[in-house]
C-alpha cells in the first residue's frame, strides 16, 4: 500500500481562553491547549508534544517499514531484541492480558485479515476464523525481556495502547517543561495537567445518548487527570439482522457479544482511562458492573441509554 507523506505541520492559534496548538498524529487530529498568553512558549510546547507523538507513531506504527514492530513481525520465528521502551510496553500489555483473562491480547491484530468492519454483510466463515486463530494467543509468544520470539504468521500490534501512552508521555514532558496548565487531546483521548488560571476546569464534551435516546453531549469539567473513550459506533457489520461490533474477543475470534457502543472513563492518567474503557468493552454485557466495581467515573453508551 503506497502511503501519502503524512502531514507533519503544526499550527498554533487562539483557543477558548487559552492557546491551542494543532497537528495530526496516529490518524487523529491532535491538540495541545496551553493556559498561557505566551505564543512563543505555546509553539515550543506544541512542537515538543508533536515531535514526541510522531516519534511514538513512527516507532510503534504497523505501517512504518523497518521499525521495531515491523522487525518483530517479519522475524520469521527468530528472536528479536527490543529496547527498553518497547520492553516496557510489552510488559504492560502482559499485565493487561492477565487482568482481562486473556481478552486483551496484542497478538490479536491478525484478526483484521478476516474481519473487515465496513458496515457490510460480510462476516467470515467459521473456518476462516479458526484458521487465523492459529496465529493468535499471547501464550504462543516467547517473551523473556528483552528478547521476543513468536511463530511465523503471528504479529504484534500496539495500537490498543499506543495513543494513550503517547498522551501520557507528552503530558510528562509538559509537566517537566512548563508550569502552565495544559490539556493534551489526541482524538478524544486526553489528559489535563492542571487547572487553568481563570477557570474552574477544562470543559470537555463527551458524546452520549441519554435515556430517551437523544444525543445529549455531556459536559465534563476536568480539572486534572485523563479521559479516554473506547468504541466506535461506525465500525460494525450487519448480518442477518445481527450487528457485530468491532470489539473482537481474541480467545474466540468473534466479536464480544453485547459490547457497548462506547465507554468513556476518567482516571488519573490517560493510559489508565484507556485501559479501563478497553477492559470494560471486552466485558460486553458486564461492562457497567465491572466499571462500577472499579470505582471509576465512566459513561457507557449502549445505544439504549447512557449510564454514567
Amino acid at each position: 500500500m503506497s502511503r501519502v507523506r503524512p502531514d507533519r505541520s503544526i499550527r498554533v492559534d487562539a483557543g477558548d481562553r487559552c492557546l491551542r496548538g494543532q497537528f495530526s498524529a496516529m490518524a487523529s487530529p491532535c491538540e495541545v491547549l496551553v493556559d498561557s498568553d505566551d505564543i512563543v512558549a505555546a509553539e515550543r510546547l506544541t512542537s515538543l508534544v508533536a515531535d514526541e507523538a510522531w516519534r511514538i507513531e513512527d516507532k510503534f506504527s504497523r505501517y512504518s517499514p523497518g521499525n521495531i514492530i515491523d522487525r518483530i513481525n517479519t522475524a520469521g520465528g527468530e528472536g528479536v531484541q527490543v529496547d527498553d521502551e518497547t520492553a516496557q510496553l510489552i510488559d504492560f500489555s502482559v499485565t493487561l492480558n492477565e487482568l482481562s483473562d486473556g481478552r486483551f491480547d496484542i497478538t490479536s491484530g491478525v484478526l483484521r485479515r478476516v474481519w473487515r468492519f465496513d458496515g457490510s454483510n460480510n462476516i467470515p466463515t467459521r473456518h476462516a476464523v479458526s484458521d487465523v486463530m492459529k496465529h493468535i494467543g499471547w501464550h504462543r509468544v516467547d517473551w523473556t525481556s528483552p528478547i521476543l520470539a513468536m511463530a511465523p504468521g503471528m504479529e504484534i500490534d500496539l495500537g490498543g495502547i499506543g495513543k494513550e501512552y503517547a498522551v501520557d508521555r507528552c503530558a510528562g514532558l509538559l509537566r517537566n517543561t512548563t508550569d502552565a496548565a495544559c490539556l493534551i487531546n489526541f482524538g478524544g483521548d486526553l489528559v489535563a495537567t492542571g487547572k487553568p488560571r481563570l477557570r474552574d476546569a477544562w470543559q470537555v464534551g463527551i458524546e452520549a445518548l441519554n435515556a430517551q435516546e437523544q444525543k445529549s453531549d455531556r459536559l465534563v469539567n476536568l480539572v486534572i487527570g485523563g479521559l479516554a473513550t473506547s468504541g466506535d459506533a461506525r465500525r460494525f457489520l450487519m448480518h442477518n439482522g445481527i450487528r457485530f461490533s468491532h470489539i473482537l474477543d481474541p480467545t474466540t475470534g468473534w466479536p464480544v457479544p453485547d459490547a457497548p457502543r462506547s465507554i468513556t472513563v476518567a482516571a488519573d492518567s490517560c493510559t489508565q482511562a484507556g485501559m479501563l474503557s478497553t477492559l470494560g468493552m471486552l466485558k460486553g454485557a458486564q461492562a457497567e458492573a465491572f466499571l462500577d466495581a472499579q470505582g471509576v467515573q465512566f459513561w457507557c453508551n449502549r445505544g439504549d441509554g447512557a449510564v454514567p
Partner: protein
C-alpha cells in the same frame, strides 16, 4: 482461568501504568459532570368571540439535569384573565336582569344575547415542581407537587409515577397517580343548590348566611404502555381513571325556569325597594361524585423527515358523558432548521345526564340534579391551527402557532319548549389561540 478479584484490577493497573510511564503516583483525577439547564418559556394569548373569556398567559418550565439522569423541573404560570362566560341562562326576546355573584348589585342582558356572567377572574398563578430519576437500569420514577391560586380557587396536588422498561427498552410500562385537593371560595359564598337566585342584599355579612367555601378532591390513576413498533414508529396506550368527590358544582351557574307552554323565562315580581333577578332562575346542582374512564392512544410516525403525530381518546363517565377526541399534527421540516406544523383536532361529547337548557316552571318538584353549563352539553368542537418553528442563531428553538377553536352545540329538538325552537339555545363559541414559545438551555 483467573476470575480476577475485581477491586484489585484498578490497583494493578495503576501500578503497571506507573512502571510504564516511569512516574511516581500521579495526582488523582478530578472530573465533574456539569449539570445542564433547559428552559421552555411561552406567551399565550387566548380570546373567545362575543366578548367572552380572554387570557394572556406567561408560562415557564425550567429543568435542571443532574448527573445520573436526575432531573428537577420547575414550572410557573401566570394568567391574566378577563371577560365573562355564559352563566347558563337562556337568551330571551326581552332584557333580563340578574344578581351578580357578589350579591351587591345586578347586571342586565339585552334581548337576544346569552347572559354572560362577568366572573371578574383576574390573575391566576400556578406552580409545579417535579423530580425524575432512574432507579437502577430499568426503572424510573417521577414525583411532583402542584399548586395554583386565583381569587376564588385554590388547588394543591401531588403526583407520582413509576415506569419500567422491557424488551430491550422497546416496551415501557408505567403506572401513576395524582391526588388533588381543591378549595373554592366563590365570590358571595356558596349558593344553596336549586334555590332561586337571590336578590341584592345590603347586609354587612358578606355571604348572607351562605357557606363561604367548599372543597373537592380528585384522584387520578394512569396505566400506560409505550411501545416501539418499528424504527420509525412509536405508540403509546394509556388507561386513566379519575374519581372526583365533593363540591363539583359551578357556584356561578344558573338555569332559567321557563313557562311550560311558551318556553319563555318566567318573570319574578319585583318587591319595591329591592333589586334582584327579573326572571326565575335557579342555581345549578351536580352530583357530588364523578368517575371517569379514559382510553388514550397515540402514535408518532416518521416518514422521510416528516413526523405524523396522531392520537385518539375515548372518555366515558358516570354522568353519562361520552367523548371522542382525534388529534393530528404533521411536522413538515423546511431545510435544516425550520418546520411547519399543521394541526387538526376533532372533539365530540354527549351531554351529561342532568344537562338541560332550562327548568320548567310547572309546579312539579325540581330535579335532583340540573345544569345548563354549556361545557356539559352535547357538542362538537374543531381546532385547526398552524405552527411555525425555527432554530435561532444560537441553536435554540422558537416557534409561533395560531389556532382557531370552534365549538357548536347539538341540543336535541326534543329538549326545546315553545319559542325555544326559534332561539339560539347553545352559546356556540369560537376562540383564537396564539402562542409564542422559546426553548433554550444547556
Amino acid at each position: 482461568m483467573k476470575n480476577t478479584d475485581k477491586i484489585s484490577i484498578t490497583a494493578a493497573l495503576t501500578a503497571a501504568t506507573c512502571t510504564l510511564l516511569g512516574t511516581t503516583a500521579l495526582q488523582p483525577v478530578q472530573a465533574q459532570e456539569e449539570p445542564g439547564w433547559d428552559f421552555n418559556t411561552s406567551l399565550l394569548y387566548y380570546a373567545e368571540s362575543d366578548d367572552r373569556v380572554q387570557d394572556l398567559s406567561l408560562k415557564t418550565l425550567s429543568r435542571r439535569t443532574f448527573v445520573d439522569d436526575r432531573i428537577l423541573s420547575l414550572g410557573l404560570t401566570v394568567d391574566a384573565l378577563t371577560g365573562a362566560t355564559p352563566n347558563g341562562a337562556l337568551p330571551q326576546s326581552f332584557p333580563q336582569t340578574f344578581t351578580k355573584p357578589s350579591g351587591k348589585n345586578t347586571f342586565t342582558t339585552p334581548p337576544g344575547e346569552f347572559p354572560i356572567d362577568d366572573s371578574f377572574r383576574d390573575t391566576r398563578v400556578a406552580i409545579s415542581a417535579d423530580w425524575e430519576q432512574p432507579l437502577g437500569r430499568l426503572y424510573a420514577m417521577n414525583v411532583g407537587v402542584s399548586a395554583s391560586a386565583e381569587y376564588d380557587y385554590l388547588h394543591l396536588g401531588v403526583n407520582a409515577k413509576l415506569s419500567r422498561d422491557f424488551n430491550n427498552r422497546n416496551t415501557t410500562l408505567s403506572g401513576g397517580f395524582a391526588f388533588a385537593s381543591d378549595q373554592l371560595d366563590p365570590v358571595g359564598g356558596v349558593p344553596d343548590p336549586l334555590t332561586q337566585m337571590r336578590n341584592v342584599r345590603d347586609d354587612d355579612d358578606g355571604n348572607g348566611g351562605r357557606a363561604s367555601n367548599d372543597s373537592k378532591e380528585i384522584l387520578d390513576l394512569v396505566l400506560g404502555i409505550t411501545q416501539v413498533m418499528s424504527r420509525n414508529f412509536l405508540m403509546q396506550f394509556n388507561y386513566s381513571y379519575s374519581d372526583s368527590s365533593g363540591y363539583l358544582n359551578d357556584p356561578y351557574k344558573i338555569l332559567t325556569s321557563v313557562d311550560p307552554i311558551t318556553g319563555e323565562a318566567v318573570p319574578v315580581p319585583q318587591i319595591p325597594g329591592t333589586e334582584g333577578p327579573s326572571h326565575l332562575n335557579y342555581y345549578e346542582n351536580r352530583p357530588d361524585t364523578r368517575s371517569k374512564h379514559s382510553l388514550y392512544t397515540q402514535g408518532k410516525y416518521y416518514m422521510n423527515g416528516k413526523v405524523l403525530d396522531a392520537s385518539y381518546r375515548y372518555m366515558t363517565d358516570d354522568w353519562e358523558i361520552d367523548s371522542h377526541t382525534i388529534d393530528m399534527r404533521l411536522r413538515w421540516p423546511i431545510g435544516d432548521d425550520k418546520y411547519l406544523e399543521p394541526h387538526l383536532r376533532f372533539y365530540t361529547q354527549t351531554a351529561a345526564e342532568f344537562y338541560q337548557i332550562s327548568l320548567v316552571d310547572d309546579g312539579q318538584p325540581l330535579p335532583e340534579y340540573a345544569s345548563a353549563d354549556y361545557r356539559l352539553a352535547d357538542f362538537d368542537a374543531i381546532t385547526a391551527g398552524l405552527k411555525f418553528g425555527w432554530k435561532t442563531g444560537g441553536g435554540n428553538d422558537m416557534s409561533v402557532r395560531l389556532e382557531l377553536y370552534s365549538q357548536s352545540g347539538n341540543v336535541s329538538p326534543s329538549q326545546l319548549i315553545g319559542s325555544q325552537a326559534d332561539q339560539d339555545v347553545y352559546p356556540d363559541m369560537d376562540a383564537i389561540i396564539f402562542q409564542y414559545s422559546y426553548m433554550f438551555g444547556k
